[in-house]
């Protein structure tokens, strides 16, 4: 123990101990304190970019804090998935007020959309943009696709038609066709319930069920249409319209031709 006692009495002992103590405290703090990792910096940056874009393009209707105005609903709690759906299908930003916002050309990059989505997600918790495994119909069995058809007919066909061709609704609204819709946007619409569409939560309609529905739609839309022209998949209305125009019109022309006297040797 003499060795330690000698060290303690050494002239440099006090400054050395002080430096050691400072080092321990400093290192300890750096371990315990919340760290600003590079990923987090990126995320903050994304949210800031999103906010800038939001202030510029969305806030005139949805309010500077996304709280909603008389022009547009509150976005607090709608979640990133709603933003990805609305902007990713070109429905938002809206050109003007309409009975229903149509799907249009998308003028924003996916990075910009994700930035706005990340910012809106900070306003209140809501459905997130899904991972591909949640909606990709890859690897579904025939049985699962058939169940997807049953689920689609029970839950979706009332509005979207029996194979997703879309349908009319009251007061100028409509359920859009799902033929061209991306799987991710179908998933997001199911979870967020855009406009008049009801929501289908994860607990009642698990990802597995949504995947099956998407698998059924893909399968149904890949089938060659042996019946010829679909006339907009709108059912008996459009078919009856064409039958009337072409059928009755054709019959009238033929009847006129039969009764016409034709060229005469006058």
């Amino acid at each position: 123990m003499n060795f330690l006692t000698n060290l303690r009495r050494h002239a440099a002992a006090r400054p050395a101990l002080l430096i050691l103590a400072l080092l321990v405290v400093g290192l300890g703090y750096s371990v315990v304190s919340p760290q600003q990792s590079s990923a987090e910096t990126e995320m903050t940056q994304q949210i800031e970019e999103g906010k800038a874009l939001f202030d510029f393009t969305c806030s005139s209707c949805h309010g500077l804090g996304g709280e909603g105005t008389s022009q547009g609903p509150s976005l607090i709690g709608v979640g990133a998935a709603a933003v990805d759906f609305q902007m990713g299908t070109g429905r938002m930003p809206a050109a003007r007020e309409q009975a229903q916002l149509p799907s249009r050309q998308v003028n924003y990059s996916q990075e910009q959309i994700e930035a706005v989505a990340a910012y809106v997600a900070t306003l209140g918790a809501g459905p997130e943009i899904p991972a591909e495994s949640a909606y990709s119909p890859e690897g579904l069995t025939e049985e699962e696709i058939a169940r997807g058809g049953a689920l689609f007919r029970a839950n979706c066909s009332a509005c979207h038609g029996i194979v997703g061709g879309g349908g009319a609704m009251p007061n100028g609204k409509y359920a859009p066709s799902l033929v061209e819709t991306d799987a991710v946007h179908i998933y997001e619409a199911v979870r967020t319930g855009p406009q008049q569409m009801p929501t289908f939560s994860k607990d009642v309609m698990p990802d597995e069920s949504v995947r099956e529905i998407i698998g059924y739609l893909d399968e149904a839309h890949e089938q060659p249409n042996y019946g010829g022209l679909t006339m907009g998949d709108a059912g008996p209305v459009s078919e009856g319209f064409w039958a009337f125009i072409l059928g009755i019109g054709g019959l009238a022309i033929v009847a006129t031709w039969i009764a016409k006297k034709g060229a005469r040797a006058r």
């Binding site: 009332a158 009251p170 609204k173 607990d203 060659p224 022209l229």
Partner: protein
């Protein structure tokens, strides 16, 4: 050509319009020009001659073209056989029709003729002759002397219809009041029956539903049934469950225990002609039937706001069981689905009831 049309007299105008008669007959080119006639003749023969060729082509296509081959026209894909059948068979039928019409138009006689109207009844002579024949028949059949013959024949024919009437009447169960109460007027919903999401059969807890959510649900006991029984039960028991903000809906006093914090269950069967409906607008709370556009307000006990339906959509009283799952409190309180003659509509909910 003479006929009896008199000149038309118009007393107001003070003049009469003479009967213009038939317009003068002008011959067709094909009648005056031998070449034109022969050309028309040849054209008709050509059309008819093409028909056998097309018919043979039809048969060749039937055997030669694979059944699952299809032609891609870009916008539409069509089965190659169907396209071939349509082009050959359709064209053959059209050619026969065109050839026959053209024959009538350019080759058949072109003389106009007039056929005058006359009374629809036969002449008195003809009618007297027919009545004479009838009387002779009656006399010769000896029914005047042996009067029972006609009665016996009528009775025999009449009674022979009875088996047919019995068979027809027995084609289904008689819709007596008791049978209606056991079938038409009840569903398999009962106290404590779980609400299951249709097709993936998940039980539902209130916290699983967000405001604006729609669930197409079925009773859990439907799963014990199979075949026809299951279909009949499902056709009546199908429900839709919706969650709305309790502050945004009208709940009458008599139904304040029928919902679970804004979660309401209604029959999915339209009260007009029984189409299944689930076209629900989350913002207006309106449920639209796609068949005839009947619209029900699910935020107001399912009353009709538009369309041909005459009665509110029946609401199913629901509650939460001890495990926290949604269950029915009872069966529907009124018969679901479309009307029928004997239906008592006094129990149905009317707008403004409490």
């Amino acid at each position: 050509m003479s006929h009896d049309n008199l000149p038309v007299k118009d007393p107001d105008l003070g003049h009469s319009v003479p009967d213009p008669g038939l317009e003068p007959h002008v011959e067709r080119y094909t009648d005056v020009d031998k070449g034109a006639g022969n050309r028309a003749y040849a054209a008709i023969l050509m059309m008819l001659a093409a028909v056998p060729v097309l018919a043979i082509a039809f048969v060749v296509i039937y055997f030669a073209v694979p059944r699952n081959a299809y032609i891609d026209f870009g916008l539409l894909k069509a089965n190659a056989q169907n396209v071939g059948f349509g082009l050959t068979g359709g064209l053959a039928a059209v050619l026969i029709g065109v050839a026959v019409i053209q024959w009538a138009r350019v080759l058949m006689s072109d003389e106009e003729s007039v056929e005058l109207r006359h009374a629809a009844s036969s002449t008195d002579d003809d009618r007297a002759a027919v009545m004479g024949l009838w009387d002779d028949g009656v006399e010769q059949s000896s029914v005047r002397r042996r009067k029972l013959l006609l009665g016996a024949l009528g009775g025999a024919v009449g009674i022979s219809l009875v088996p047919a009437v019995v068979l027809l009447a027995d084609m289904g169960p008689h819709p007596t009041k008791r049978l209606r109460e056991e079938t038409l007027e009840r569903t398999i919903w009962a106290e404590g029956i779980l609400l299951l999401n249709d097709e993936n059969w998940l039980p539902i807890r209130p916290e699983m539903l967000e405001v604006g959510q729609l669930v197409n649900a079925q009773p859990a006991n439907l799963r014990y049934l199979h075949g026809v029984e299951a279909h009949q039960a499902k056709a009546k028991a199908a429900i839709i469950v919706v969650r709305m903000d309790p502050n945004s809906i009208k709940v009458p006093e008599s139904r304040k225990d029928w919902h679970v914090s804004g979660i309401l269950a209604y029959s999915k069967i339209c009260t007009h002609v029984g189409c299944p409906i689930s076209l629900w607008e989350r913002q207006t709370h309106h449920l639209l039937c796609p068949c005839h556009q009947s619209t029900f307000d699910l935020g107001n006990s399912g009353v009709v706001v538009f369309g041909p339906a005459a009665r509110a959509l029946p609401q199913l009283p629901i509650t939460v069981n001890a495990d926290g799952y949604l269950v029915a409190q009872s069966d529907f309180t009124v018969p679901v689905g479309p009307s029928y003659f004997e239906r008592d509509s006094s129990q149905d909910f009317k707008d403004g009831d409490q």
